[in-house]
């Protein structure tokens, strides 16, 4: 699939449960009209969207992508089987990528503990990062290949089980002034958005995402947790995102997931995904981007190559 036309305005927000910012940021866009809402990341709880409706105010229509996918799979067994096979292949690829990635990150950590002349250390740091970036790129390439094979073989948009829903979605989106993506299970969210080609149905339309919804708007979806129970967390690329917010990587819930006082981890995260800017979006954060420039910022942090996190500025820089 081709990259869809970028939105006129993009809003990236942190988690909304305790310090909501979505309504304020969206109202600041001055839009008029209904809002199309995606809560597919909530999976079976997709319909539990009352808090978001209250935060947005006005007319909100939930696109019900999770339920629509269930209906499509029930109606089209071939689609369901092919989809399940693709998901299995993606999981396998993620597992193998993770095996290599953990070793590469461990090597980077070992290198960073060594003492050597500064010039040599700088070269070796860069070589370690290049290896990690290469793994990320290889994994993304594998994901693309698997998606292309699925789309070529299955032609999902041509199948009545999907086309019927796409027609309805196109009508709803055409009448909406804004698309809002809620968070939740980020792989499910991305999967359902891709299944129905939602981004392609609303070219140029302003879009807002919070938490996991902000992650999928970026070019790459980066999964991260510095302290999971199973040991040191290795941030990993899940897949291509929707690509509507190029040049940024969104990391919501940093207060729970990131050790921002760990300079080495912060530095690796920032440098690994450069030249994209790595934004930490704590609760209470909201960033509005218009024509690629940040025009309104609340509470977001920019991770830097020197291992610090600094307030992200309204001019798009630190």
């Amino acid at each position: 699939m081709n990259r869809p036309e970028p939105p006129h305005a993009i809003v990236l927000c942190g988690a909304q449960r305790f310090d909501p910012t979505l309504g304020r940021a969206v109202r600041a866009l001055g839009l008029d009209g209904p809002v199309a809402l995606v809560t597919a990341g909530f999976q079976e709880r997709e319909a539990e969207d009352q808090d978001i409706r209250a935060e947005l105010g006005g007319t909100v229509e939930n696109l019900r992508l999770h339920a629509r996918a269930d209906e499509a799979f029930a109606a089209d067994a071939e689609l369901r089987a092919a989809h399940r096979e693709r998901q299995g292949a993606l999981r396998h690829k993620q597992d193998f990528y993770r095996i290599r990635l953990e070793h590469a990150l461990e090597a980077q950590h070992v290198v960073s503990q060594r003492r050597a002349p500064a010039a040599i250390l700088a070269e070796e740091h860069e070589a370690s990062l290049a290896e990690i970036r290469q793994l990320d790129a290889y994994h993304l390439g594998q994901c693309s290949r698997i998606h292309r094979a699925f789309e070529t073989a299955v032609q999902p948009f041509e199948r009545p089980a999907i086309a019927r829903h796409r027609d309805e979605l196109a009508r709803i989106l055409a009448a909406s002034s804004l698309l809002v993506l809620a968070g939740g299970h980020v792989a499910t969210l991305l999967n359902r958005l891709r299944l129905f080609g939602v981004a392609e149905l609303c070219p140029g339309k302003p879009v807002a995402g919070f938490s996991g919804g902000a992650m999928v708007l970026c070019e790459r979806v980066v999964l991260f947790h510095d302290s999971p129970p199973q040991g040191p967390g290795a941030a990993e690329v899940l897949d291509h995102g929707l690509g509507l917010c190029p040049g940024y990587v969104a990391l919501p819930q940093p207060e729970m997931r990131l050790r921002l006082d760990d300079a080495e981890r912060v530095s690796v995260m920032a440098r690994r995904f450069a030249p994209a800017r790595v934004l930490a979006l704590p609760s209470g954060a909201a960033v509005t981007l218009e024509q690629g420039r940040a025009t309104r910022v609340e509470g977001a942090l920019l991770l830097t190559g020197d291992g610090t996190s600094v307030p992200f500025g309204p001019k798009g820089g630190a």
Binding site: A15, R17, G41, E44, D70, D95, I99, G183, G184, H185, V186, A187, S211, G212, M215, L223, F224, H225, P228, P229, Q230, G231, G233, E236, L238, P252, Q253
Partner: protein
């Protein structure tokens, strides 16, 4: 310089009964002061001794009587984060009796009864082992499995996650000594909590038990056949299981760990995940005589065979053992061999012994290592 402890101050004061009452009031026992622990017993007896299961130390240590009183005490060095199960041996009128520490409310149960528990400095009972009202409870359901391997039927307890949906597929965990894991390691609550916290995926757990574990768990090929060729297919016919090695795990403690390893050894490529807790992996470097006795002979043959030609029997293995266990040597010896086969291996040691609460305390890191939950996927 020797640390001056509360008990020393008391003893030097030549206390009477009232002074001892005052000293004990409001105090927690055993008394933990840094890495120094004072065990205390009070009562009219002839002698008191501490009986514990720390392998590196004498298992019996006499408590000293404070002259002219009914107070006994023993000071020991116990490293931070230790958890030690113990009893007091009381001697009275020529008779001996093992009792729980009357001053210590911390108790642990096991199939043989219960023990008092010393929680050294820095040890805390993990919060995820306690009932959490926010966690939706899974259900336990009985299931009968027909077995040609053993002849007859075997009862299994199944844990089903709270949100079981037929349209999804689930990983399977098979637990040895399942009744004991449920009863003494609180494993149902642990599963409910870890799933609720997204640290484990929704999964189906088969709690199995054996009427003759010393025989069946000690590398009995019938046991591996029962699990692999009978239990899994019959479960798969009733529940939506992921039909892949990485979604099938075996776990157990002590002989249960041996049974897990043995089953994977005889069915390589089928069980992709192993959780081996304090495994009884006895071996010999020469000859057949082992330090554990004849009950371990078949285990020794199995472990010696693996040591001779290590191979990847699974994909991902979590091994844990207490440093106060006799088996720490065997487990430390096993880990590099597992590692060299290309299996992903994680080994965790803790300051604990061969007991169920120790195994409970390692479930979070062990299970989430085998089956990472959707924590990395969910951003609400």
């Amino acid at each position: 310089m020797t640390q001056r402890l509360a008990i020393h101050t008391l003893v030097e004061s030549r206390p009477d009964a009232a002074a001892i009452d005052a000293w004990m009031a409001g105090r927690r026992f055993p008394v933990v002061e840094g890495s120094r622990v004072t065990f205390v017993y009070r009562g009219e007896v002839d002698a008191v001794a501490l009986r514990h299961w720390i392998y590196a130390l004498e298992t019996r240590r006499a408590l000293e009587r404070v002259a002219g009183t009914d107070l006994y005490y023993l000071v020991m060095d116990v490293p931070p984060r230790s958890r030690v199960e113990y009893k007091f041996e009381i001697e009275r009128g020529g008779a001996q009796e093992w009792i729980l520490d009357p001053l210590n409310p911390n108790r642990a149960r096991d199939p043989f009864g219960s023990n008092s528990v010393l929680q050294a400095e820095g040890y805390e009972v993990p919060d995820w082992t306690r009932h959490d009202p926010r966690a939706r409870p899974g259900t336990l359901e009985p299931m009968t499995v027909r077995s040609a391997a053993f002849g007859g039927e075997r009862a299994v307890q199944l844990y089903l996650p709270a949100r079981l949906r037929r349209s999804r597929r689930y990983p399977l965990l098979v637990v040895h000594d399942g009744r004991d894991y449920l009863e003494y390691a609180g494993m149902k609550v642990v599963l409910d909590n870890l799933i609720h916290r997204l640290e484990l995926p929704d999964l189906i757990v088969a709690f199995t038990s054996s009427p003759e574990r010393e025989r069946e768990y000690a590398d009995d090929p019938a046991h591996g056949r029962f699990l692999t060729e009978e239990l899994v297919p019959q479960l798969g016919a009733r529940y939506p299981l992921v039909d892949q090695p990485q979604a099938r795990a075996l776990m157990g403690a002590s002989f249960g760990a041996v049974a897990s390893f043995s089953t994977a050894w005889h069915h390589p490529g089928f069980w992709g995940r192993l959780l081996l807790q304090s495994g009884s992996f006895a071996f010999t470097d020469i000859g057949r005589a082992n330090r554990f006795g004849p009950m371990f002979d078949r285990v020794v043959a199995l472990v010696n065979a693996f040591r001779e030609a290590p191979s990847a029997v699974s994909e991902r293995v979590f091994v844990c053992c207490g440093v106060y266990e006799k088996l720490i040597y065997e487990n430390r010896s096993l880990v590099p061999l597992l590692d060299e086969t290309g299996m992903q291996v994680r080994f965790v040691e803790s300051r604990d012994g061969h007991n169920w609460e120790h195994w409970r305390d390692r479930l979070r890191e062990g299970l989430s290592w085998l089956f990472p939950g959707p924590l990395m996927m969910v951003y609400e």
